[in-house]
């Protein structure tokens, strides 16, 4: 090695621990107990007040939708003909419709079906879409062209028409609607994830991982996807809200969930003509649609902040 006594090396310094700023004994006293990544994320999430309120609300909503029917005296498909078109009362807190079916029971059943559909759509689109996008953005070239043209093709298919046609032939099962709407939402997620991956893959930490012998699969799933989490979560929450609305639109057209089964969308569209005369039939399911969409969005907000290790600010 050449002589190191040069102007560059003249500065009194040594790479020892003692000379490092921020490593003084005083600083050490503040060292907190080591927490795992998940513990830290959970703590950040718990501190996110709106997200926590939303989470509690959504859990209550789910309890209401999935457990509630077992404890309620009326059933959603009970068409007894008694107590028709009653306003909310102690016996029927949400009122009844013109066939005498208890509205609380139908809203519970409707919320149940809508939640199942919306969450399935979001889950399917996010999982498949992330993998689709990361593969496309990471490999580029021919693979990318094929996958992205396929995405373009799927985006041209009118989701409502296809879902309607399929649901029509399969007697309106909730999972058919979820599968079709979820499948057709996948390209949206794929395109967004691909965009993020395109910028991430040029970052040096990906090259560093490759230089350290990481396989393509490892790079995609351990390095790229975790760095896409923020966009993916935001997209997932939007998809839940969009799923609820998509199902509503289908049901409004008479192509979604069909009677005697019900969903929030079906209830709202069915009560269209009754807004003035029997508003309880319209507003109760409507409030539930809004509540689900809102709480999911706030939870997504909180998750995004909590899962980002760079986020130090804790919102209250």
């Amino acid at each position: 090695m050449p002589d190191m006594k040069t102007p560059l090396a003249d500065k009194p310094e040594s790479p020892s621990v003692a000379s490092q700023p921020g490593l003084s004994p005083v600083e050490r006293e503040f060292t907190v107990k080591e927490k795992s990544q998940w513990q830290q994320a959970a703590r950040r999430f718990l501190r996110h007040r709106i997200a926590m309120v939303s989470l509690v609300l959504l859990l209550l909503l789910m309890l209401f939708a999935f457990v509630g029917p077992h404890f309620w005296q009326f059933r959603y498909d009970d068409v007894s003909g008694n107590d028709t078109s009653q306003a909310p009362s102690l016996k029927h807190p949400f009122g009844t419709d013109n066939l005498g079916t208890d509205s609380l029971a139908t809203v519970m059943r409707g919320a149940q079906q809508s939640l199942k559909i919306a969450f399935s759509i979001a889950l399917l689109a996010v999982i498949v879409g992330s993998i689709w996008g990361v593969v496309s953005g990471y490999f580029l070239g021919f693979v990318d062209s094929v996958l992205m043209r396929l995405a373009d093709l799927l985006l041209t298919i009118p989701a409502l028409a296809l879902a309607g046609a399929l649901a029509h032939n399969t007697s309106g099962s909730w999972w058919v609607i979820a599968l079709v709407l979820g499948g057709l939402s996948t390209p949206y997620v794929a395109r967004v994830v691909r965009g993020v991956v395109l910028s991430l893959r040029e970052r040096e930490f990906i090259e560093a991982a490759r230089a350290l012998g990481a396989s393509n699969t490892r790079i995609m799933f351990r390095h790229l996807i975790p760095n896409c989490l923020a966009v993916v979560i935001v997209n997932a929450t939007l998809l839940v809200a969009a799923g609820i609305l998509g199902e509503t639109a289908l049901s409004f057209l008479g192509l979604g969930v069909r009677a005697p089964d019900t969903s929030l969308g079906l209830l709202v569209s069915g009560a269209q003509g009754a807004v003035d005369t029997r508003p309880w039939l319209f507003y109760f399911p409507g409030i539930f649609i809004i509540l689900i969409a809102l709480t999911v969005n706030f939870i997504g907000d909180g998750l995004r902040d909590a899962l980002d290790p760079r986020q130090t600010r804790q919102r209250r």
């Binding site: 090695m1 050449p2 190191m4 040069t6 560059l8 090396a9 003249d10 500065k11 310094e13 040594s14 790479p15 020892s16 621990v17 000379s19 490092q20 700023p21 490593l23 050490r28 060292t31 080591e34 990544q37 970052r203 040096e204 930490f205 090259e207 560093a208 991982a209 490759r210 230089a211 350290l212 012998g213 990481a214 390095h223 975790p226 760095n227 989490l229 290790p309 760079r310």
Partner: protein
């Protein structure tokens, strides 16, 4: 090529660790709807170099000259188009990705941007641990202790192993990058402008750290830089690149004392001297770096060279090797006497496309004229 390659500069008598033989890296340029290949960027064009065990080779040149591409190709982040790279006699260019993994632990890289080279979602222990995992000898608590030892060795607090990259300063991050490279226990570390993103006082710390680590771990370095003043302190030998070719190669002291290639001379002239009263004649480079897609014929530097002759536009100069191991690819080298010129031989590492015979003549005659012309211009 034989397995035993003598080090041209003769600085170290050790066996060659790395032999780069006529390495080519070309990137296709695509255009039109069907992506037809309309040309190639000659990023690295027929480069031959050797690196001895324990040696530091500086690699300098302006932006776009192919030095980073060369460095990346050495760790196979870029695929070579032609030529071979041998590490301890083993041909790496022939290896497929899977076979490469066993070699990767021996050749590691430190990246330019310490911010971008660390995954923001991973803890320092995970980042540095990746190198240890590659080596595959330590697991669990043992691996964890090794991470902490390494962090301490590069001047970081081992207690910070559970922190994230954003919680560190630029200099500290580069130390993490160095620790990651060292974790695999490599023999050769490619340093791709490791200090150019840092500020000057930190640069000195990192350079000294790298120097200490070299002695401690018995490392060889390829040190890429565009800053000649940094590379001087760490390098045993320096290779100067221009448009994908090596234009000059010599021991670092020799290069600074006696630059032979006009390009090297102007690079040296560009080093700022922190003395406002000192005036000197600078040979400024005029014009732009020509396109690497369509490099000029003959000597690639002739479009910007003040001493270019007709010969330069026609024949690509081979590397002339002088008695002391100094090599230069120029028809009219500077700072060299007639006797030295007559003793020069055509180097084995000359590009295949270069002239078969040495055609050296001094550039001194031109130089006087140029200096006079510049002198006239500069008087107010």
């Amino acid at each position: 090529m034989t397995d035993v390659v003598t080090s041209p500069a003769g600085t170290k008598a050790a066996a060659a660790l790395l032999e780069i033989d006529h390495l080519m890296v070309m990137f296709p340029v695509r255009a039109g709807t069907w992506g037809a290949v309309v040309g190639h960027v000659h990023a690295v064009d027929d480069v031959t170099l050797t690196l001895a065990e324990g040696e530091t080779l500086g690699l300098v040149g302006e932006s776009g000259c192919g030095k980073t591409t060369l460095a990346r190709t050495l760790v196979r982040l870029t695929e070579p188009t032609g030529g071979t790279i041998r590490f301890r006699g083993e041909d790496l260019t022939a290896k497929r990705n899977k076979d490469l993994r066993s070699f990767r632990r021996y050749v590691q890289m430190v990246f330019q941007d310490p911010q971008a080279s660390l995954n923001p979602r991973k803890r320092i222990s995970q980042i540095v641990g990746a190198g240890i995992r590659l080596r595959g000898t330590s697991k669990g608590m043992k691996a964890r202790r090794e991470v902490e030892e390494l962090l301490a060795r590069v001047g970081l607090d081992p207690d910070h192993a559970q922190r994230y990259p954003h919680e560190f300063s630029g200099g500290q991050r580069q130390r993490i990058g160095i620790a990651r490279a060292l974790a695999a226990d490599p023999k050769l570390v490619i340093l791709d402008e490791p200090v150019s993103a840092l500020d000057v006082s930190i640069q000195a710390q990192i350079v000294n750290l790298l120097d200490d680590l070299q002695d401690e771990f018995g490392l060889s370095y390829v040190f890429v830089a565009h800053d000649l003043s940094v590379v001087r302190h760490v390098s045993d030998r320096i290779a100067v690149m221009y448009l994908g070719k090596i234009v000059e190669l010599s021991s670092s002291d020799e290069l600074y004392a006696q630059p032979m290639h006009p390009y090297t001379a102007s690079l040296l002239d560009a080093i700022p001297i922190p003395d406002p009263d000192r005036r000197r004649d600078r040979r400024r480079l005029v014009g732009e770096l020509p396109s690497a897609t369509n490099p000029p014929p003959g000597c690639r530097f002739h479009t910007r060279c003040p001493w270019a002759t007709d010969l330069c536009t026609e024949v690509e100069p081979p590397l002339a090797e002088f008695a002391n191991g100094h090599e230069v690819a120029c028809h009219h080298p500077l700072n060299v006497g007639r006797t030295q010129l007559s003793e020069a031989i055509r180097s084995e590492s000359s590009p295949r496309s270069s002239g078969a015979e040495l055609t050296l003549s001094p550039a001194e005659a031109h130089r006087v004229e140029i200096d006079e012309a510049q002198g006239k211009d500069e008087t107010p």
